[in-house]
Subunit: 211 residues, 3 copies
Amino acid sequence: MHFLNFNDAMEIIGTFAFAVAGSFAAMEKGLDVFGLLVLAFVTSIGGGTIRDLLLGITPVSWLSDSRTISIILVAALLSLLFTKHLSQLSKFLKIFDALGLGFFTLVGMNKALQFDLSPGVCIALATITGCFGGVLRDVLINNIPLVFRKEIYASASIVGGTIYYFLQLQFAQEMAFVLSFIVIVLIRLLAIYYNWSLPGIYSKNKLSRED
Amino acid sequence: MHFLNFNDAMEIIGTFAFAVAGSFAAMEKGLDVFGLLVLAFVTSIGGGTIRDLLLGITPVSWLSDSRTISIILVAALLSLLFTKHLSQLSKFLKIFDALGLGFFTLVGMNKALQFDLSPGVCIALATITGCFGGVLRDVLINNIPLVFRKEIYASASIVGGTIYYFLQLQFAQEMAFVLSFIVIVLIRLLAIYYNWSLPGIYSKNKLSRED
Amino acid sequence: MHFLNFNDAMEIIGTFAFAVAGSFAAMEKGLDVFGLLVLAFVTSIGGGTIRDLLLGITPVSWLSDSRTISIILVAALLSLLFTKHLSQLSKFLKIFDALGLGFFTLVGMNKALQFDLSPGVCIALATITGCFGGVLRDVLINNIPLVFRKEIYASASIVGGTIYYFLQLQFAQEMAFVLSFIVIVLIRLLAIYYNWSLPGIYSKNKLSRED
């Protein structure tokens, strides 16, 4: 019961944060209200949709999930009304986004685990669930996806998904979930705070010249 | 019988208009003949394909619809041959496109209605069917989707889809279809004639500063 | 037995070449290691994934194909380590890529043939399998897809797919496969060598003004 409430809270927070991130991106590009609505949806449910399509879970989950849809609509509306104040809230939104990343990654893993796939594929599907809503959003507004370029974002998802995969083999699912969730959120928040990012490909290559 | 003929005519006209719009976009970007063919197809069948995938209707409809494929091929060929004259025909093409938008929106709704989904999701799937072929086309040629930026286009689809949803609960499907179809086409044509567009997000936000 | 070995070799070579092409594109855009990994995967398995989704083959093939996944990971890693030397290997890579194009096109056709679809649709699905991994890659890094713009690439796939479709109606599948494979690879390599490309739409239109 307690665990269910935690799940509900994280799903609501994550959906909300992702939808706000989509609305923001729409505003930056000067889209109209319809564009904002689409970007809010795509950012929130895009990752899970790609996962569902790859696995053949259809009709895809959000089509019959009225709570998710309502949250996204509310998030889009609030973004429109409080544009001015949103920049002041950006710290909170980044924390919300980190919580969403952790939650969606592990939900994606749970779905993948039902399909008897190899560990690597499960981790990939978990990462897709957590990160590819943002990829779709960026493609729609003609940007190179942010997660391909900077910051520890997808990496947090990959590390946390990997830990969860192995923990859930040996421990109770709830404990594995909470521990891995903490890892993802922590990595992500530390990456924001200390401005961490993955080595760019070229600097990596400079290192490898010694090989 | 009469209704079937109306349906056939609208489907042919809509498919043709969307394929020509795709071909045009390919020409503007200086693509080659293969690029033109792909864009003609994607614009025409993209929206229905996304809807089918989300709902799990596979193999997706157009794979076994040789009429649609033939119409698209003819439209692409004619676009290639009559490039010079197409700009003179642009008024007719916009009217055709409006007819296509109305028809595909309502066809999308009819498919969604078979899946026992909430009204909002049905309307979303109808709008996706009508508008997302153009979204895919724009993404492929590296433009921010037109429907996110200007003109009353998706809005006509949303309004007409909503009206159809409620009309078909109470009236004969054919009557609901025709009435909603007229609404979509009328809104779209008036929007073109009077140059209507949705409020941009920033001007909207200016209004909301009084809140 | 002999044929199976040929298939294995071609699949490994093709997957490898496509993954390297994806890694290259990531490097040119200065993406990070995660972006490189995603592009290597998308380029290699994107075409087959779109085909599987359209046909409703789910979970899509690569999810349970650990060999493909391993090859892509190795290709991405080698691309990272040997960046400096890859430009010297570009001739080999283009030959590998041509082999991959031939192989994936015909594998796509074989899958489509199981669905009782029209010849045109089978050929389209074969071409999608061969070429749309590259389309997805280009969309993700914000380029207009290369195959829409220049070179005989998709055309080789279309011609070879068409030949295979008709050959396999009358001859043993293995013979049809090998002959069509040779045609695709030959067209592609000749196109590279002689710098062939499809007529651009505008020059085509100039020709059609005489009509």
